[in-house]
């Protein structure tokens, strides 16, 4: 892991967070406001500018962090996925981003679709890399359509005699795709380096970043990114074995990717946003068959690698708490949305750190008194024995600037142990 220049403030906050994750009582309840795109509004720039103007976006984040003084912050790269110019160079069809398909002050939105057809399972299973390069990328990025013209990647397995095959890369559609890739790469590299510098600077100023890597539950990777929700749910009936094979196939990819990113950044926390596993999406029996085994394996592998998995249990997980009890104690930071936190505390209080407690609706449509009272109530109940991080149920994009301030201050005021 890289060594980072840190400060006393950083050590204090990191200890506070780590104590909570290890189910201990820190000096006080840590506060983790899920800023996401909030800094843009706070600093008076549009979301579109956040996607396109690196300097102003980083300044907005710095101002937000320094003014709100949180124990963890979300990195500026998180709500962007890639710079607007990179999305444009690739002609990204899987999202609409501010100013491109959604208004200049709307967060980016995923375009749900069947990016892998039902009859492509075998192709995907036999050679996922080849399928990804020649089928998937041309579908999700308009500018990479040319990659569908290249021969199977394994045809390069021809020794010196294969040297001439690369000629295909110069035919116009392929060359255009490579140019687009190069353009997106240049932009992304510049932004990524600036993000890394930003994180170093924040470390020096005393503020730890939330996470440096994202992993997906294997079912979600297939469902979100490849087959679509509809597709996977139909596959659960029409071709359950193929679906399970694909899920097993992507598990090591998720584990390896997350560990690699964590090693590069030195940040141990891995964000795992969960989608289709929530209550109501599928039955417990389906969850047990299709969702949980590989999610559990992912979480355990990350723990084995010395990392801290941070699953975001979006929606409700009240029906799934028994499964979560199978996880080892003090190793996971569970971020909760609409689950009943009292039930969660009872079932998982000895298992994982609970992050959450503040409904985003209250930070958007509540009053300062309501926010203060609710903050205090959560700290005195869910937070009373430690193992708790005060956070919001979702991103703060649309939250009221003043109510967020009241919330952060109330946490510090009532949160001392």
């Amino acid at each position: 892991m890289t060594t980072t220049q840190t400060s006393k403030g950083f050590e204090t906050r990191a200890l506070r967070i780590n104590d909570a994750i290890q189910l201990k009582k820190p000096d006080r309840v840590p506060i983790f406001p899920w800023f996401h795109l909030f800094p843009a509004r706070y600093a008076g720039i549009t979301y579109e500018e956040a996607f396109y103007d690196l300097d102003r976006w980083l300044d907005a984040n710095e101002k937000t962090i320094l003014d709100y003084d949180p124990d963890l912050y979300t990195q500026p790269g998180a709500p962007i996925a890639a710079a607007g110019a990179a999305h444009e160079a690739l002609d990204n069809r899987q999202i609409k981003w501010p100013g491109h398909g959604v208004g200049p002050n709307r967060s980016f939105q995923f375009v749900e679709g069947e990016y892998m057809k039902a009859d492509e399972y075998d192709e995907f299973l036999n050679d996922p890399s080849d399928w990804t390069i020649r089928k998937y990328l041309p579908r999700i990025y308009g500018a990479l359509e040319g990659l569908s013209h290249i021969p199977p990647i394994k045809s390069l397995l021809a020794g010196y005699a294969g040297a001439g095959i690369v000629g295909v890369l110069a035919i116009p559609p392929v060359a255009a795709a490579l140019n687009a890739l190069n353009e997106a790469a240049q932009v992304s590299l510049r932004w990524n380096m600036a993000y890394a510098q930003f994180e170093q600077k924040m470390n020096g100023l005393g503020y730890p970043a939330f996470s440096a890597a994202v992993a997906l539950a294997p079912y979600d990777l297939i469902s979100d990114m490849l087959r679509g929700m509809r597709g996977t749910m139909v596959d659960m009936y029409r071709c359950p074995d193929k679906l399970l094979e694909a899920i097993a196939q992507v598990l090591p990819i998720q584990i390896g990717g997350a560990i690699g990113q964590a090693q590069m950044s030195g940040n141990p926390r891995i964000f795992i946003p969960l989608h289709r596993g929530a209550d109501g999406f599928m039955s417990n029996e389906q969850f047990e068959t299709f969702y949980w085994p590989t999610l559990k394996a992912l979480i355990l592998a990350l723990i084995d690698a010395g990392l801290t998995p941070c699953p975001f249990f979006e929606g409700g997980y009240d029906q799934r708490l028994e499964y979560l009890q199978e996880l080892p104690p003090g190793k996971v930071m569970g971020m909760f949305d609409r689950s009943d936190l009292f039930k969660v505390k009872e079932a998982l209080g000895d298992v994982m750190c609970i992050a959450g407690g503040m409904p985003i609706s209250l930070l958007q449509a509540g009053t300062p008194d309501q926010v203060r009272a609710h903050t205090r109530h959560m700290i005195e109940t869910i937070g009373q024995d430690g193992g708790f991080i005060m956070s919001s149920s979702s991103v703060l994009d649309e939250a009221d600037v003043e109510l967020v301030r009241v919330w952060v201050e109330a946490t510090k005021e009532y949160g001392a142990y």
């Binding site: 959604v102 709307r106 967060s107 509809r230 749910m233 039955s283 985003i360 609706s361």
Partner: protein, 212 residues
């Protein structure tokens, strides 16, 4: 082959068998409309299972898939469409700025399974479109859906636009979507909020004079 066999295959998600039985029923000379009635019964059973937590989204999606295929198979044999009495009319849409449709689809499935006529405006629906469509289709209930927190603002704008167009007294407005709760209802000025599709059905029933 009997209608009961079709209901069993349909509700147990045995897709291929349900289609095979449909073909056999048609060959036996069963009235096409009767086959569709049978499927509707099956949909109602699946709706009830969804309501009591024994069926979930995969089953709703499969039910929709089977219903679509059976309708396509049967429709050419129908001479006259049946006119059925609906409980009420609901205008549904995901509000401006939000393109999520899963929650809205589930609500529509449950409303239709419970005898409501639903007009689906799709996603990212502007306040102006809602106002225009209320004038055109005269619904009893307007359902606003949204998953993103930005939807709180556009739900409010939509309710405001309905009021400004002088249509607020003609319709009941319900809102729903993962982050919606009573705080959001108060903020938007909607008549009610629902945490799930069953609550949406209960509200629609209550407002159209049915039993909830």
């Amino acid at each position: 082959m009997s209608s009961q066999a079709l209901i069993d295959a349909f509700t147990e998600m045995r897709e291929a068998e349900a289609l095979k039985i449909t073909n056999e029923l048609l060959e036996q000379g069963t009235e096409p409309l009767e086959i569709l009635e049978t499927c509707k019964e099956a949909l109602e059973i699946i709706g009830q299972r969804f309501e009591n937590g024994t069926a979930f989204i995969p089953e709703l999606i499969m039910a929709g898939e089977m219903m679509g295929q059976i309708t396509d198979r049967v429709r050419p044999h129908i001479e006259q469409e049946a006119q059925e009495k609906k409980l009420g009319k609901v205008l549904m849409g995901t509000v401006s700025g939000d393109i999520h449709d899963i929650g809205k689809e589930v609500v529509i499935f449950m409303l239709e399974a419970n005898g409501f006529e639903v007009i689906d405006l799709g996603v990212d629906v502007s306040p102006e479109t809602f106002v225009e469509q209320i004038g055109e289709t005269q619904p009893d209930v307007v359902g606003l859906s949204g998953l993103l927190t930005l939807a709180f603002g556009t739900m409010k704008e939509t309710v405001d636009a309905i009021r400004e167009a002088g249509l607020r007294d003609q319709v009941k407005v319900m809102i729903g979507g993962a982050p919606v709760d009573e705080h959001v209802q108060g903020y938007t000025g909607a008549d009610a909020w629902g945490k799930d599709a069953m609550e949406a059905v209960a509200l629609a029933r209550q407002w159209t004079g049915g039993q909830s």
